[in-house]
Amino acid sequence: MGIDSMEIDSMIENIKYNPYSWARSWKQKKGKGVIGYFCSYVPEEIIHACDLLPVRIVGRNAVATLSGAHLQNYCCSLARTSLDMALEGKFDFLDGTVFVHTCDTMQRLSDIWRLNAGSEEHFDIVLPARLDGENAFDYLREELSSFRASIERSFGKTTDEDLRRSIDIYNRNRELLAELYDMRIKRPELLSSEKLYLIVTMSSLVEKSIHNSLLETQISDMKRSASPVGLNTVDEKVRIFGIGSLMEEWGFLQMLEEAGATFVDDDFCNGRRYFEQGITEGDDPIMAIAKRIFERPICPCKYKVSRSRVQEIMKRVQDAGAQGVIFFQFKFCDPHAFDYVPLKEALERASIPSILIEIEQGSVSLEQLRTRIEAFIETIRG
């Protein structure tokens, strides 16, 4: 089943303004269940194998109101605007919600959600805080098995074969996204930053196999339009590496490109952290999923003795040929704020300029940001 370029554009447009409308109408058409989740550590394959659609909850671009009765103002706007939507009944199409214990806010949000806004089924996955060591691995495998057992209790049994099929579809998606990123690192002018993050975000909002065919079309379109290097004189944009959780400020991305810069690679939750590292299949699919969680780029909520997030990111910044780094964080996001300090120091040692942008969904003053971004780019250009 192919998807043509025009369809891609209309899907992108739709996701930009109504992130959840695709899932809602899919449910109506197919009569299948939809499961909401927040975190990229959620084993989507287990949900998918139950013939359910996993859909990422990404908040919305509006000032939080109703959630004020349950969450303090110093919780991130992702938690607050999402809870607002749940309290307004905007997630009534969800048959269940999965929470992963990452940061404190998410852990608290899980209980608040279950008691006040919950969908029919509610699942918690308590990941170990440290993602290394034998005990943590055994625990993680157990936790994933018990998540599988509880979701099957609600939505029906699956076989290991079902799970392997889902893993294949998800692995294919990861391969394609990695290919898209590789092309963009070499030729960023082939795809705008805004479209890039809309495409990656869409991956977590629509059925994976459909997204796979969308990516196949997108990649072959880009290959076709890519004239050999040197033939076209393109205005070289300043190459930026992005660090943060969700990148879904579309206006900011447009403004960044207008200011003469583009993201060439990232450590965003709806960027490379979402798809990097496929699942290596073995006999036990749960074991295979657990291995990926252990080996993929680490999120600032998690910890590893054996691997330094700072070193890994510094290497990727250099590999991508980035001239500067933009930290794009939600206000009050503690895990990212903690990691900012050593990352910024490492960048300073390597003489790579960086800037910290903190935002809250629904109250971004773009023109004020424009001055900071333009000044940052002027600093890089010298």
Partner: protein
């Protein structure tokens, strides 16, 4: 070579005309609601001051938050880069610029050539800006231009805990109700601003010497409070409000000479 720099700020708009590096014309007008008109007016006045016509200019650089809304042909450069360049031209040893304007506060680290190394800027908060001082002066019924002088008479500054313009105003009003001397409240306000700016500026590496730019630099109370908080002396240019426009004009000259 003749060039112009126009700095369209939130409160005032400034223009500088340079002829072979010398200031030959300058102007300062209120921005008002129409930044396009303000830019035009400031440029025209500065040209008049210099006694030259616009068509004799080799280049113009516009800066400030209204830089994109001008009706004359000019390159746009952010006020962060312009303030750094302007401050460097006034004081070669400048390595840190504290710019407090009508609605923005910034701290800029620069190198020996006046290039920006790093900077921080306030987000949405107006604390420490000209607007904040206007509100406070009004609450205390002291003229804005006297607020700084008055505060220096205090021997016992009243602590003001909040620097949010809205909360600080009600705090000031309750201090007045408690019968605290205006002089002490004014001093407390300036201390609160200094703490706030120091906290923001500490995000970048602060190096000697410090230059203060922007309209707030004309308030001696803020300058003294900042110097105490930063434990150093600040260099205050004769016309701190014009530093951004000066930097813009210098960049205009550099770019024009590259082109020729």
């Amino acid at each position: 070579m003749r060039v112009a720099g126009v700095d369209i700020g939130s409160l005032t708009t400034k223009a500088i005309i340079l002829e072979d590096g010398e200031i030959v014309g300058k102007s300062l007008v209120m921005t008002g609601h129409n930044s396009r008109l303000a830019g035009r007016r400031a440029l025209d006045l500065a040209l008049k001051d210099a006694g030259i016509g616009e068509n004799t200019l080799d280049n113009i650089v516009a800066t400030g938050y209204g830089r994109l809304s001008i009706d004359f042909f000019a390159e746009q450069v952010t006020e962060i880069t312009c303030h750094a360049r302007g401050a460097h031209s006034i004081l070669r040893d400048a390595r840190t610029v504290i710019d407090l304007g009508g609605q923005d506060s910034k701290a800029i680290a620069l190198d020996e050539n006046g290039r920006v190394l790093d900077f921080v800027m306030n987000d949405k908060c107006a604390a420490g800006t000209g607007r904040f001082l206007e509100v406070m002066a009004q609450a205390l019924e002291i003229g804005l231009e006297n607020l700084g002088e008055v505060s220096l008479q205090s021997v016992d500054p009243a602590p003001i805990s909040s620097v949010c313009t809205v909360f600080a105003e009600s705090e000031v009003i309750s201090r007045i109700a408690e019968g605290v001397d205006k002089v002490d409240i004014a001093a407390g306000i300036h201390q609160a601003i200094a703490s706030r700016i120091y906290a923001m500026a500490s995000r970048i590496s602060l190096r000697e010497r410090f230059v203060m730019t922007g309209g707030v630099a004309k308030n001696i109370g803020v300058v003294k409070a900042l110097e105490k908080r930063f434990r150093t002396s600040f260099f205050i240019p004769d016309e701190p409000q014009l530093v951004g426009a000066l930097g813009a004009a210098m960049i205009a000259a550099e770019r024009a000479s590259v082109k020729n």
